[in-house]
Structures are given as C-alpha cells and as structure tokens.
C-alpha cells in the first residue's frame, strides 16, 4: 500500500470527505470538506470516486512525499485551472500559500485511506470525531488507485457572487426588515472564522423579542445571530444544536465561497429565489 509521509504542515491540515451525515441527534457535527466542489474536482481529476478522502489545507505549508509514484491534484484556493500531476516516488510535494482564497484540496489517486469513523474519514474540529489533524511526521495510508485519471471532463467551477439567503425559522425574532438589512449591508469576515462558522462584522441585526430561545437543531448555512447582533454562518463543523435564533439560511450551492473568504474580505447577501424558481434554475 502506498503511503504519504508528511514533512511539514501549515496552520491546519485535515482529512476530509463528504462528511458524516446521520449522527446530529447524537451530538456529532457533519464535518466534511468546506469547499465541497473543489474537493470533488480534485477527486475527479485523479480518477477517484466522490466519497474518497482528500487533504484540506488551510493556507499553505504542507509538504509530503509518497512511497510510490501517484497521481495528485491540487484544487481550491486561487486555482482556476487545476490539473492532475504525477508525483514521483520520493519527490516532495509542497502546497504554497495561495495568492487568493483560504483552503486548498489535495487529492491522491486511491484516496487518503485512514480508517473511517462512523462511516466517514472527515476530521471534525468542534467535537473531535474522526482522524486527528494531520501533523508533521504523520504517515497516511493511500488506497488502491482505480485506474489512470481520465482526460479532463471536469465541471466548470462555480462562479462567486453574493451569498443567496433563504428565510430562516426564527425570522420572527428580529425586526421585520432584518433579512432586507442583511442583504443591503456589506459585512466583513472576522479573524475568528473557522470550520465551525464564518463570523461577520457589520451592521447588527436587531431583535424584536428578548429572552432565550430553547436550544434547537441547526443546519449548515444557518445565519445565527447571537445577542451581539453579529451574524455567524454555520459551516461543516457547526454544533448540531444551538440556542440563538436563525434569521436565514445560505443556499448550499454558495457555501463553498465561505470556505475561501479571508478575514477582512467583504461579503454580501442577496435574497434567494423561492424554491419553485430555484428548482427551475437548476
């Protein structure tokens, strides 16, 4: 079996696949690649299946070697035209910090074959379910490649734009035009954003009612508004339940952008079309 030897990491490298659905009722976050289209593209470029695990690299700093030559692909942050490359045995692959964006995805033909936990190889950074974060010195098993990568038939990368937001379950906890205020303002990504949530600075979203909301189930993309009024967009490692009201829900197709926004960058929201026309759109 091929193995990857990790020589160095940057601020955070984790193993991710499509996540661990079905355990929220036991308190387990879903986890999974934050920029799912980029991870899927990387897998596709090296001939992997959609459920194979990749490495999610925050900024840069990853360096590794493989025992056996293998196809690899690096997608995500700032990489508009990624291709599969041959990594010879013993050669060092380095992921440099990208000029734009935040998270890169490294797929290796055969997939990162760490043992799955509850059906997934994803690291969850909130509750610690799944493989530990990847550190220098780690040796990662690689699965059997399914064959040579096929000629490029990769989908067009999604286009960035304002985050489309659907009404949330607790819009009635806010002033009547709160969703319109969210969509009219420009927010700035806060430095404490992470895999749990994209934290935003900007105009506060005032509440109409005081008091505490009983803890309730949360979804990916939920725009949760704590008492500070600063919205947080819940991402893959969000807690399965939460006690602050949810004003809106960012469309799942736009969440990849939240994975690539840097602290200090601007974010805008726009009302999502209602479900019927959204279905027609796709």
């Amino acid at each position: 079996m091929n193995r990857l030897h990790v020589l160095a990491t940057g601020p955070l490298v984790t193993v991710q696949d499509r996540g661990r659905p079905g355990f929220a009722h036991l308190g387990v976050p879903r986890a999974g690649a934050l920029d799912a289209p980029a991870a899927a593209l990387a897998n596709r470029l090296v001939g992997n299946g959609p459920d194979d695990a990749v490495l999610e690299v925050l900024l840069g700093g990853l360096a590794l070697r493989a025992d056996v030559g293998c196809w690899v692909a690096l997608t995500g942050a700032g990489r508009d035209h990624p291709v599969a490359e041959w990594l010879p045995a013993g050669a060092t692959l380095r992921v440099d910090p990208p000029a734009t964006g935040v998270r890169s995805y490294l797929a290796v033909a055969g997939g990162i074959a760490v043992p799955p936990v509850l059906g997934s190889r994803s690291s969850d950074t909130l509750a610690g379910v799944g493989p530990a974060r990847v550190e220098a010195g780690a040796v990662l098993p690689v699965g059997e490649p399914r064959g040579r990568p096929r000629p490029m038939d990769a989908p067009r990368p999604p286009t960035p734009g304002p985050l489309r937001v659907h009404p949330g379950p607790r819009a009635d906890w806010f002033v009547a035009d709160a969703l319109a205020r969210l969509c009219a303002a420009t927010y700035v990504v806060a430095a404490d954003s992470n895999r749990v949530g994209l934290r935003l600075e900007g105009p506060a979203l005032p509440r109409r009612r005081d008091g505490e909301l009983a803890s309730e189930g949360m979804v990916r993309g939920a725009v949760q508004v704590p008492p500070s009024g600063r919205p947080v967009v819940f991402l893959a490692d969000h807690p399965p339940t939460g006690g602050y009201p949810v004003l809106g829900v960012v469309d799942a197709d736009d969440l990849w952008q939240c994975a690539q926004l840097r602290p200090g960058e601007q974010v805008r929201f726009t009302p999502a079309p209602p479900p019927a026309s959204a279905a027609a759109r796709r």
């Binding site: 659905p21 009722h25 308190g27 659907h166 607790r170 309730e216 979804v219 807690p239 339940t241 469309d251």
Partner: protein, 201 residues
C-alpha cells in the same frame, strides 16, 4: 403540552417542527423515524424536532400530519449507570433541596430518567425526569475542566459528561460507564429515548 405541530421552513431542505416540550419532541422524532421519515437527520431538542436533508417537503408534511401529539412511543431500552456520589456540588445541592448528602443520593437515584436529546458534545444526553421543584441553576461561571464521567444537574436536566470538557453543571458524582464509543452501535450509551437509572456505588 402543545396540541399541534407548527412547521417552520429552514431554508430549502430542512423543516423545524415546533411541538412545545422535550417529551413531545422525543415522541415525534421517535415516531417519525419509525415511519421512515424522508430526512437525513432527525434532531429532537428542548421544544422542537429538526428534519434536515429533506428532498420531498410534500411527503414530509403529509407524514407529519399523521402524528397525534398525545401519542407516546414504546419505552426505550433501560440502562443502569453506576455512580460514586462524591461530586463537588453535593453539599450545595443538598442545601438547595433542604436535605443532606444521603437525601440527594436517594432523590437523584430514585428517578427513572429518559434521554430526551443530545447536544453540547457527542453522546451528551439531556436526561428528563427530575421533578421541577428540584431544579438547580447552572454555576455562575463554568468550570474550565469537568472530568469525563461526571454526573451533574442543570435546571431540571441531568447529564453525564462523555468526555472531559468545560462545564457549568452542578456535579453530584461520577461514573465509569463508557458514554461514547465510536466502535459501538449506537456510539452513544444514552441515545434519545433510552431510559436511565443511576445506581449508587
């Protein structure tokens, strides 16, 4: 108890069912799973059930329309949790309950609890059953580290810490039962619906 279910959309692929209390939420979640609800996640909480990963809203709404709010599921499995009652807050809870430590142990261990929902950490179950008059407030400031297996109270909930973590629950004792094990099915010892009794050791 609420006499009806209010459905609130949570974006295009999830629905929050508001039922008013934890017992009804557990009942609805259990009933919905037994009826093969078309959802990836069914998450009961204090007053609601979240259905996430819903592809067919019409089918979900039709199914939930068939639930009778008074309906209660068959009792879940019974788990005995052995407890050494030596928690840091025993004296405090005894004072709040107007009894002594032996009285706290007796009252806490005579109740049959039911795991209503999980939250806070994997396998951390909110256990219902303590009489409302025995409710105790959370600590004013949480402890930075509560050891694994600690048994505590917050409001009228009882809970057992599956891992060491910060926490503000008032601690009565500790257990060596394994609350969370990813190699076990289900991984949570106290999954929603499980009945729980604490056995003094």
């Amino acid at each position: 108890m609420s006499g009806s279910v209010q459905l609130r959309p949570v974006g295009p692929s999830a629905v929050l069912a508001e039922v008013g209390d934890a017992g009804s939420a557990l009942a609805l979640a259990t009933w919905a799973r037994a009826h093969h609800v078309p959802a990836v996640e069914v998450v009961p909480a204090a007053e609601t059930v979240l259905f996430d990963g819903v592809a067919d809203h019409v089918a979900l709404t039709a199914l939930l329309g068939g639930w009778q709010p008074g309906e209660r599921p068959a009792p879940g499995p019974l788990v005995e949790v052995p407890v050494v009652y030596d928690g840091l807050d025993l004296d405090d809870v005894a004072a709040r309950w107007g009894t002594d430590v032996a009285g706290v142990v007796a009252r806490h261990s005579e109740v049959e609890y039911v795991a209503a929902f999980c939250g806070f950490a994997p396998g951390f179950a909110y256990l219902a059953g303590l009489p409302a008059e025995l409710a105790v407030p959370r600590l004013a400031s949480p402890r930075p580290r509560v050891p694994l297996g600690s048994v505590g109270l917050a409001g009228s909930w009882c809970g057992v810490y599956p891992t060491a973590s910060p926490g503000g629950w008032r601690l009565l004792g500790r257990t060596d039962a394994t609350l969370w094990d990813v190699d076990r099915d289900p991984p949570a010892l106290l999954a929603p619906g499980t009945r729980v009794v604490f056995v003094p050791r």
